[in-house]
């Protein structure tokens, strides 16, 4: 067991957990933040995407002890004070989700992209989002949602 201090969605946590678990398990099983999903546990699907020290990362590809001292953002932190972010709003408005299982990861990848590049091109969106698989939407509505959110966030 190991003590880990980390900040998740601006809240500080101190957790005792086994050393061999991943950040994904830490978030889901120890912090009960189940918005981050497990789709493959092998870095192939992106369902567990979080923002780890400012960069989008598969939470299944980070060992829990690596998160000691880290700043993590998850889907639970995207809406502020009960108000959806423009990105979340845009996902709903453009039907950028169906079953919703990939959606938290999609939104976190898109969030990291927009934080780094407020006006991404279509190709830049594809490049940034390639690691997030969706079996339902065909991706097109997700691209639209991100483009529109980018426009909206820039305008704001």
């Amino acid at each position: 067991m190991r003590q880990i201090h980390l900040t998740v969605n601006n809240e500080k946590y101190q957790v005792y957990c086994p050393e061999h678990i991943t950040l994904l398990t830490l978030l889901r099983e120890h912090l009960h933040l189940t918005g981050t999903k497990e789709g493959c546990a092998a870095g192939e699907c992106g369902a567990c995407t979080v923002i780890f020290n400012g960069k989008a990362a598969n939470a299944c590809m980070v060992l829990a002890p690596e998160a000691n001292g880290a700043v993590v953002e998850t889907i639970e932190g995207e809406a502020k004070d009960g108000v959806l972010s423009p990105l979340q709003q845009s996902f709903i408005e453009h039907h950028a989700l169906q079953c919703g299982f990939c959606t938290p990861g999609m939104i976190m990848s898109a969030r990291a992209l927009l934080d780094a590049n407020p006006a991404p091109t279509r190709d830049e969106i594809k490049e940034a989002m390639e690691g997030n698989l969706c079996r339902c939407t065909g991706y097109e509505p997700i691209i639209t949602a991100i483009e529109q959110a980018a426009g909206g966030e820039r305008g704001a």
């Binding site: 996902f91 453009h94 169906q98 079953c99 919703g100 990939c102 079996r135 339902c136 065909g138």
Partner: protein
């Protein structure tokens, strides 16, 4: 009147899903919950000689270890042929042989490793063409004892044949003699994974008094209840199935899966809840997939392009169990020749057992597979006749007045495949040749472009008695809750039902709420959420429930307003007197009963109930296959332009148009969502998706590294979605189902375009660069 149908509404569950609040099976934790792990077979076909569980049982924290020899149960939706665990022999790589429940997942995983199993390998049956022969080793030695739906399926015990559905129409032999042209080809397709992002998780608590509570990631809560109760001989009333948000299914979460096994583990553990979340590797190896297909198609036509005879043999690679997948051979027989008017037809559609992962429902239920061969065959026939393939199709398509191969009459309300085809062909200018400059460029670069078009059809494949129901509750403030027994696992059914209720009741859609998830103790019955049947059947049930609610509102209103029922009407969420609309009563005053000034009260909570069942369907005649199986036919067409890199075999989708005759667009963005998503899934099946085994039947494509689905970078460069609207008279507001259809015939339209671009005729899938290049090399 406000319009809620058409442009549509935003998803009913959008907020829950974009915030991560939507609770999926894996997110559920119960007090005292244990964790399960399955132990699977490393052999495709083997006798189980011995199982030693002693080391696993000795591990601290292990609460139960179960093998097929301790306790077992047989399940199956149509063909009851599948044990919860292999007991005597294993029939596919990945089959469950034993299972563990323990205090933590880590302990369960470790315990599963400690189970020692000795196998005696048997020769695996891996090729359907060999498996179907009488001389083949048997996958199931005593299949004659299996229970199945008699009169619907026709197994041939003693051989690896779980079902043979025959269609006989006219006289094919005579027609082939008469034909000017006869062509025959064999088309082959591998198995394909469903690959929902969320695995098939299950939690079961087998409590005292045999009261069983199941939480499961399933498309069909009532089918799970039914099959579970049937398997364990429990009354339906003792089995409760709760389905939370479901992360995609594509058919793979229909029927029943690990619920019986996990139930037995829970029973062993004194009724503690047991949770099983399969790994992605287990999802691939252990859970069912889409069947493979070997299709032999022989077609006869006159020289002016009229198809007069077609003989089809479909060998479905059903894998180790027929369970649910056995109905695919029946569905494949009904649709065997596509939406064409053909006088003389002979079809044999056969489910074949092999030692592979077993097949089940997959988006399209046999149609994407059938249409690869059928729509390839149409282009090949056109080539043989020197005709334009679009013209050939138009000459033979089903039009009002024609009969399907099973004898169903097509009317002007059935839908118009010809309009779909013309629309997409025009959008892409299919048939228009490239300019000499363009052709010179193709030659220079080695990158050749070509276009093609193909048509599709599908009707729901389901029992004739497949039914839905809905309950509409009005709350104290006049808002409305709807409960149904079908699941919205992303396809958008609930949003459409919400729209239907808003339209029917003329209540703002924001005031209509779909109860999230389904619980069989609380939700009304629905057979299964499959077959693109929900908008039609559940939609009709919601219409009826809303009408029932309306009647009750009118009745209460007429009493309270002291008017006859015919003198009152509904509007603005009130009952009012038609002649004097100022006399009105808001719903909120009457929907829980009305209270007079002196305290007297009448009425009570208003609840509408509705039901629907497929009308007028029949079983097929066992010898001729004649009968009516279609609740509704949805037709469609795709046109495509591709570019083939002849150096590498890579195919790029340059442009595409897809069209369905949807009956009525209920929610435009959702129709587009289904179609864009379905097309991309079809492109995956075309280019990269295939389940591979080694020579011993061991699975090679075990995870998302080995098995590739389309990513953001694999989208078509252009895709236009369009709809034809020929109303389905008995569909709600004219709608028909569209969820499965977009991916049908995608494989064929691309293979046809490939042939047009390069001359390479491909008869098997996938059209991976590897295989395309090899085919080009042969040219």
């Amino acid at each position: 009147m406000r319009e809620y149908i058409g442009k549509g509404a935003l998803r009913h569950d959008g907020i829950e899903k974009v915030t991560g609040q939507a609770e999926y099976l894996g997110d559920i934790k119960l007090n005292g919950m244990l964790y399960a792990k399955i132990k699977t077979s490393p052999y495709a076909h083997a006798q189980i000689v011995s199982i030693d569980t002693s080391k696993a049982e000795a591990l601290p924290g292990v609460r139960a270890v179960l093998t097929g020899r301790d306790e077992n149960v047989m399940v199956g939706l149509y063909m009851v042929d599948r044990w919860a665990m292999a007991a005597e022999k294993t029939r596919y790589y990945g089959e469950v042989v034993a299972a563990v429940a323990a205090d933590t997942q880590e302990i369960a995983d470790r315990a599963a490793e400690l189970i020692e199993i000795e196998y005696m390998p048997l020769p695996p049956v891996l090729d359907v063409r060999e498996a179907v022969k009488a001389s083949s080793p048997q996958v199931h030695e005593n299949s004659e004892v299996y229970d199945y739906i008699k009169g619907v399926f026709h197994p041939e015990p003693g051989r690896n044949i779980a079902n043979r559905t025959k269609v006989r129409k006219g006289d094919v032999d005579a027609a082939f003699l008469r034909a000017d042209v006869v062509i025959e080809h064999t088309y082959e397709q591998p198995q394909v994974f469903h690959l929902p992002l969320e695995p098939h998780g299950t939690i079961v608590q087998w409590g005292a008094g045999d009261k069983v509570k199941i939480h499961t990631s399933a498309q069909s809560p009532f089918a799970v209840r039914d099959l579970f109760a049937h398997g364990f001989q429990l009354p339906r009333s003792k089995v409760e199935v709760n389905v939370p948000y479901v992360g995609g299914g594509f058919g793979g979460k229909a029927g029943i899966h690990m619920e019986p096994l996990v139930g037995m583990l829970s029973k062993r553990c004194g009724g503690r809840p047991v949770k099983l979340i399969p790994t992605r590797e287990e999802e691939c190896a252990t859970f069912p997939c889409r069947q493979g297909l070997v299709a032999r198609v022989k077609t006869g036509a006159t020289k002016d392009g009229k198809i007069i005879a077609e003989e089809v043999e479909y060998l479905w690679d059903g894998g180790a169990y027929a369970d649910y997948g056995v109905n695919i051979s029946r569905a494949g027989a009904v649709t065997a020749c596509g939406p064409y008017d053909i006088e003389n037809v002979k079809v044999d559609s056969v489910t074949v057992y092999t030692n592979k992962i077993f097949g089940t429902a997959y988006r399209g239920f046999g149609h994407p597979e059938v249409f690869f061969g059928i729509e390839r065959q149409r282009d090949l026939l056109a080539k043989e006749l020197g005709m334009c393939p679009v013209e050939l199709r138009l000459k033979n398509l089903l039009m009002p007045g024609a009969h399907t191969i099973t004898g169903e009459l097509i009317t002007e309300h059935t839908g118009r495949v010809d309009k779909c085809l013309k629309m997409v062909a025009e959008k892409l200018n299919v048939g228009q040749d490239y300019t000499p400059e363009e052709k010179a460029e193709f030659q220079k670069t080695g990158k050749y472009r070509a276009k093609a078009a193909a048509v599709l059809q599908k009707s729901p494949a389901m029992p004739t008695w497949s039914a839905s129901s809905a309950v509409v509750h009005m709350n104290e403030d006049g808002t409305v809750h709807i409960t149904v027994g079908g699941v919205d696992f992303g396809q958008g059914t609930y949003t459409v039902l919400q729209q239907i209720a808003a339209e029917r009741l003329q209540i703002p859609i924001e005031k209509i709420v779909m109860a999230p998830g389904v619980n069989t103790d609380m939700s009304p019955y629905d057979w299964q959420t499959v077959a693109s049947r929900m908008t039609v059947l559940c939609g009709n049930a919601v219409c009826e429930a809303c009408d029932d609610l309306t009647e009750q509102l009118l009745e209460m209103g007429s009493i309270v307003l002291r008017a006859s029922k015919h003198e009152v009407a509904l509007g603005d969420e009130c009952v009012y007197v038609k002649q004097n609309p100022q006399y009105s009563m808001p719903y909120s005053k009457i929907c829980m009963g009305y209270t007079y000034e002196n305290g007297n009260a009448i009425g009570g909570p208003i609840i509408g109930r509705g039901k629907s069942i497929a009308q007028g369907l029949t079983n097929l005649d066992p010898e001729t296959g004649q009968g009516k199986t279609a609740l509704d036919w949805t037709y469609g067409a795709h046109a495509i332009e591709i570019e083939v890199d002849t150096h590498t075999g890579d195919i790029r989708v340059v442009d595409m148009a897809s069209c369905l005759d949807v009956g009525r667009v209920m929610n435009e963005a959702m129709v587009h969502g289904q179609m864009i998503g379905g097309v991309l899934q079809g492109l995956g099946t075309t280019f990269s998706e295939a389940v591979y085994y080694d020579g011993e039947g061991r699975l090679l494509t075990r995870n998302l590294t080995d098995y590739k689905i389309a990513t953001f970078k694999d989208m078509p460069e252009k895709l236009e979605i369009c709809c034809v609207e020929t109303p389905q008279l008995d569909g709600p507001y004219g709608a028909r189902g569209i969820g499965e259809h977009p991916l049908i015939a995608i494989t064929a339209v691309i293979a046809n375009a490939l042939a047009n671009a390069t001359g390479a005729e491909m008869y098997d899938l996938p059209l991976s660069a590897d295989r395309v290049r090899a085919a080009l090399a042969k040219e």
